[in-house]
Symmetry: D3
């Protein structure tokens, strides 16, 4: 039986609560309440990595179609991967207050998962810059999932994209973040 | 207590099963198994509408920050709405096999929802064209949600984007789709 | 002697005042005060044209540089023209609530004007669509002017772009608009 | 009574005249008269900031509409601010010979000004790079102004965008520029 | 001495010579010698198709690498195909005087060819519009070829992209064009 | 029978064969055969330059038209140059696995060549980054050539773009590359 996108487990919540109060605010809002980009001019460029995940739930018959197609060229999963990589590079065009970043690496993995049933997405983004690449990883994961939706929608309009989330982040002042309850290991 | 992004209710599944078998295939794959755009040259341009929804789950304290900011100019919710509208217009650049479409309308509504707790997104897209605007509505909803994530992430890295889904579609050969279990009424 | 970007002459103001009251509102704002694209799905596609103008004021010595360069290939004025045409095609990416339109024509003319002293820009945009091309013409004119600024800025940082304005518009429900005090004739 | 976008005051002109003669040329033109990007490969990356301003003149009744809308979500001024920020990030796509830059900050402020009557725009751009961000600030200011035009044009077609200008610049070989007659202080 | 990519065979030349003299001019140049978009406002929207081809020549060992990779997911050839399709949709952004078109179909086929040795590309583009899709097909073919270059360049820097050419075109006033010496049949 | 764009001369082949075997693989493919960006996070940013060339063959009468137009403003060759420069800046959007790079210089030269007969293109790209700019130079050269095609196509549909190739590269771990049989000298 499928488990629902679970609430964050207790441990994770506890840690989040311990986040120093100074960051418990909206950094994209200036003292006058006006939204703005965060000024990172004075920060040093350091190596950054972020990993995001997402999943697309679908009917078992739809997943069977994806699997059957998988042996062919230009299959659903490959196109979703390419779309994710390319979207990561355009994050700053899509997310209004994101900084444009010289990405040094993007990799997206899309694979079938019978337990959902559906498809899971994992996206890794890296840079050496003054700010992090969380949004790049999340945009890659979401776009890969949307591409799967596009290619399967004639067969199954009720697919759902779920649990688009950051699972790992390293680098920068806020240090390392590791979402609890997620498997996998990433090198900084 | 929050209910999880539920499995599609039985009625909905049943209907989906009745989908004529001819569409139970991947339309973006040619006989040789190669992915390709669907050729819509011979289809008539007709009025189309699609409605998509998404939600971002967050800690209650994060939602409180969003609500507090809401009275200010350029708040989180407004920026998410703008980002959604602008992303819809670039759907064909993001989703590899999507047709470029002359959108005649895009509207995105982003609002706080204490029950999640978090924020809900609804995006409506319209065109008069040879193919539908499901992807435009879904891209708008997902991008609006990602923008909320971006603007709140310093306060809460564990937010999750869930239930990105098509809830309504009208126009074109496949007729009307109305996802069961969704409230709201849309004019064709 | 140069005359400053003048206030609109009295006659023009008078006419504007007679604009029927039903359009004296912000069409991009819904009843709840939320900004949105204008839904043009139900409108017929008709031929539209719009003409916009702008000017860049500069020191006489800067204009002399532009003129001297004019005989060369890839001169300032030509690059400004190309930039204006290309920007017009991307109007819907830049202006949040603009509809994407299949432009059928864009032409930009950039020429020196000793009386400013400086450079004048005129941009014409055409389409056959459900909505007008005023913004396309204005974006073309403004971008052409910005390109002149870019190419001359090492010589003159105090240049000013002025009087970016719509001078003519034809087609659509609101009919013809002809800004008073502007010379030139355009065919609908 | 409002004075028109004035000629640059005498003092400013005088200073500009003192600009060393070596920069009194078109840097984007090669010895053969062919336009080209300026090669900045050998320059060091240093902190840069630029501030640009613009204004949109409109009828008093139009400004009243903008003000009335201002209390709502997604109002004209907020959308103009977002559009300005997003356009700054795409400057190198619009201005043919601009270098692509990793912007570290963009902020745009759009506010009503009864004296014009109309709306004023101020845009700040920052980077740490081999070349300056004047064009990014100017593109942001111009696009914010164009967005105001778009959202108010059904009420007032005769609005004019005026005085798009650089008011401050710091960083790089050419040092600091401060346009005379402009109020405001910016930190390098 | 270098041998050139062969002149077009005699038959083809002969036909081209018969092209009516009225089109023997540069349509993108106005009477004043200024480049401009062709105004297609008054033309009827009709079905259009264009087919372009290109080839990438490489060392036999490089082609062997491509072939070996071909059985894997996300191989060189698939990525080149996706890149070609996506580039076709952005033709009007790349080619200054191209009209933006609502493409109804794009398909790209990339396959190894031992005789070159190398890889051949074929791109088909369709629309229902006032102007043709030759440039869309050519941009798709060229970008697919460039993508092959990118993915193989660490192994072979001396690859060459050759014979990027239009092989078929149908629709519009100028009727059908079929390049002589090319195999293949396309439906209008 | 068609004669092919000639094989690379023997000397060039010989050198290529000496390329160390470790680079004789597809760097964009991971151990699982999945395509991916090359991770350059750990590489130092160094100065890079790349030079690419291309040629467009056309009928003598077409070249005469290009030459006649050359004296006018906004001529074919100038537009092709601008298009090449602008396309170079968008390489990472077009080529799926290319890194986005802060280009420090792009220059494109397009000139008539009676011997082809046709037009030759040379594009130079520079950056200070963790990876090279070969693709930027190639994209610039190819797009400039495609722009010539676009502007002359009404006069000559049988033009061919040939020999799009890298002729020089400097910087980075793989050192200098100089294609044999090419004239010209470039400074690193």
């Amino acid at each position: 039986m499928r488990r629902a996108p679970a609430r964050k487990p207790r441990a994770s919540r506890a840690r989040a609560m311990k986040t120093p109060s100074r960051v418990r605010r909206l950094t994209h809002v200036d003292p006058a309440g006006r939204s703005r980009m965060v000024d990172v001019s004075a920060k040093a460029a350091t190596a950054r990595v972020a990993v995001a995940r997402a999943e697309i739930r679908m009917q078992p018959a739809t997943l069977a179609l994806v699997r059957a197609n998988q042996v062919a060229k230009g299959d659903v999963l490959t196109l979703a991967q390419v779309a994710g990589v390319m979207a990561a590079k355009r994050t700053a065009e899509l997310i209004p207050l994101c900084h444009p970043l010289p990405l040094t690496d993007v990799a997206v993995r899309v694979q079938p998962d019978e337990r959902l049933p559906g498809v899971t997405v994992e996206a890794v983004a890296r840079t050496v810059a003054q700010t992090g690449v969380e949004m790049e990883a999340l945009v890659a994961a979401a776009t890969a999932a949307l591409t799967v939706y596009d290619m399967c929608k004639a067969a199954d309009r009720e697919m759902t994209i779920d649990r688009v989330r950051l699972v790992y982040k390293h680098g920068g002042r806020s240090g390392e973040f590791r979402r609890s309850g997620e498997s996998g290991s990433w090198r900084p």
